[in-house]
């Protein structure tokens, strides 16, 4: 299972604990996160379920490219960081 780590700055709005989460893509992993923590969804995804404009996600050190479908692949040993983008200030 992939390790998922959220930016510390999201924690004051909605607690998002670091965890091991199953999934073959970023979308599958995040959907599993949101099943357990539904309030977190709207903090990370926009109304069309794409990644929010000023959020960014890294998988094993690489920034994901598919911000709409979140189809970037994830393997059992991946580490996923859900961060704020500096474009948002």
């Amino acid at each position: 299972m992939a390790k998922v780590i959220f930016t510390p700055n999201i924690q004051r709005h909605v607690v998002c604990l670091e965890g091991e989460v199953p999934g073959r893509t970023v979308r599958e992993v995040l959907e599993n996160v949101f099943t357990e923590n539904p309030r977190a969804r709207a903090y990370v995804l926009d109304d069309q379920s794409g990644l929010r404009k000023h959020m960014t996600i890294f998988v094993d050190g690489q920034m994901i490219r598919d911000r709409a479908r979140l189809a970037d692949g994830v393997n059992e040993s991946s580490t996923i960081y859900v961060f704020q983008a500096l474009s948002g200030g």
């Binding site: 999201i10 903090y43 990370v44 926009d46 109304d47 929010r52 959020m55 200030g89």
Partner: protein, 366 residues
């Protein structure tokens, strides 16, 4: 008279209270967060605060007996598969709440109804005190909605919502830019209003097109709802037929440009404005912060200065940042440079509450 003010700012929601003869900051909520607008629902005392967290998006909070709780923010529906929409620059327009720009209580006969205007142009209605929201699809799907453009912002938005005090099914909205729209059936059907307004920023053949109008603020007299006032990008306009037609008020000194307007609750001929130098500068004329007032429907205007800074004042007052209480005597306004002034005598004199607030986005009496 209202004894409290809600001040929405770039860095929090400030509650300002009247203590004997002066006003003081009472409490600060959401300190550090961007509060785009707040609503105090006079029907039941609930308060609502719209936040824009930037990275984490737009959120909505509602007051409780002990503080605040996050409730659902209006959410745009999924875009149909394969559907594409572009903004005025040809970029993809995302159906997603970019800003909550208007919050208004429904009529007294519909407790729990709240209207919400957003950027990029969606209008939402809640029937359960903001617990859930329904987009008004009849307006969003209206073919002319795609002609709305950003005015001072990348995206078009609904900033003014007027619910008819005689009939809650009648609602007017102001769009920047997109003019005035009206429904008489609670939002099922919409028509454009606002003949007579004039836009200088478009070619001559479009100057008087109602959809081209950059309405900065639309307000309605509660005791005489046929009377509507507009602070427009190109000046001040007044209607005496429920917004069907407008007449331009010309020759207003020091300027007819501004963002905000309020109208007396019982006297439709009395209205207040905060003028600025138009367009390129957007600062008070001559560095003098003034309020203008008409008492005769726009025939004459008084320039009110007592208690306001008259040199090197560069305060801009946004469209939601001028407020009038239900008495019609007490006014307040806040500025982009953190000033807050209150008048107890219809604007004849003003007292500065503070000049060190964060940039002020909205002022409302609670």
């Amino acid at each position: 008279m209202s004894e409290k003010l809600l001040i929405s700012t770039r860095k929090g929601l400030f509650t300002v209270s009247r203590n004997t003869a002066h006003w003081e900051i009472d409490t600060v909520d959401f300190l550090g967060d961007n509060v785009s607008i707040a609503l105090s629902d006079h029907r039941d005392g609930r308060r609502y605060a719209a936040l824009d967290h930037g990275h984490f998006g737009v959120k909505l909070h509602r007051s409780t007996a002990t503080g605040w709780e996050e409730i659902a923010a209006p959410t745009y529906p999924p875009m149909p598969d394969g559907y594409e929409e572009q903004d005025m620059w040809g970029r993809p327009l995302k159906w997603s709440t970019a800003r909550i720009w208007a919050l208004a209580a429904g009529g007294p006969d519909e407790p729990g109804v709240i209207w919400c205007g957003t950027q990029p142009g969606g209008l939402f209605r809640s029937t359960d005190h903001g617990q859930s929201w329904e987009m008004i699809r009849s307006l969003w799907d209206h073919p002319k909605r795609k002609q709305w453009l950003g005015g001072g912002a990348d995206l078009p938005g609904i900033h003014s919502i007027c619910v008819d005090p005689r009939n809650s099914q009648c609602v007017w909205i102001g769009v920047s830019t997109g003019g005035i729209w009206f429904t008489d059936d609670g939002g099922c059907n919409w028509v454009q209003r606002g003949e007579g307004m004039r836009a200088e920023h478009v070619p001559p053949e479009l100057t008087h097109d109602p959809i081209a109008q950059d309405v900065h603020c639309l307000t309605q007299c509660p005791a005489a709802p046929h009377r509507m006032w507009v602070q427009h990008h190109n000046g001040i306009f007044v209607s005496s037929d429920e917004g069907k037609t407008f007449t331009e008020i010309v020759g207003v000194e020091p300027s007819s440009f501004g963002f905000a307007v309020v109208v007396h609750p019982r006297d439709p001929d009395t209205a207040w404005f905060v003028p600025q130098i138009k367009d390129e500068k957007r600062i008070p004329s001559g560095g003098k912060l003034v309020v203008t007032r008409t008492r005769d429907g726009g025939e004459k205007f008084e320039i009110l200065t007592k208690g306001l800074p008259q040199s090197h004042a560069y305060d801009v007052v946004y469209r939601h940042s001028l407020a009038l209480d239900e008495s019609g005597d007490r006014l307040a306004f806040g500025s982009t440079t953190g000033g807050l002034w209150v008048s107890e005598d219809q604007g004849e004199s003003w007292a500065c509450v503070t000049h060190t607030l964060p940039p002020v986005y909205a002022v409302r009496f609670a």
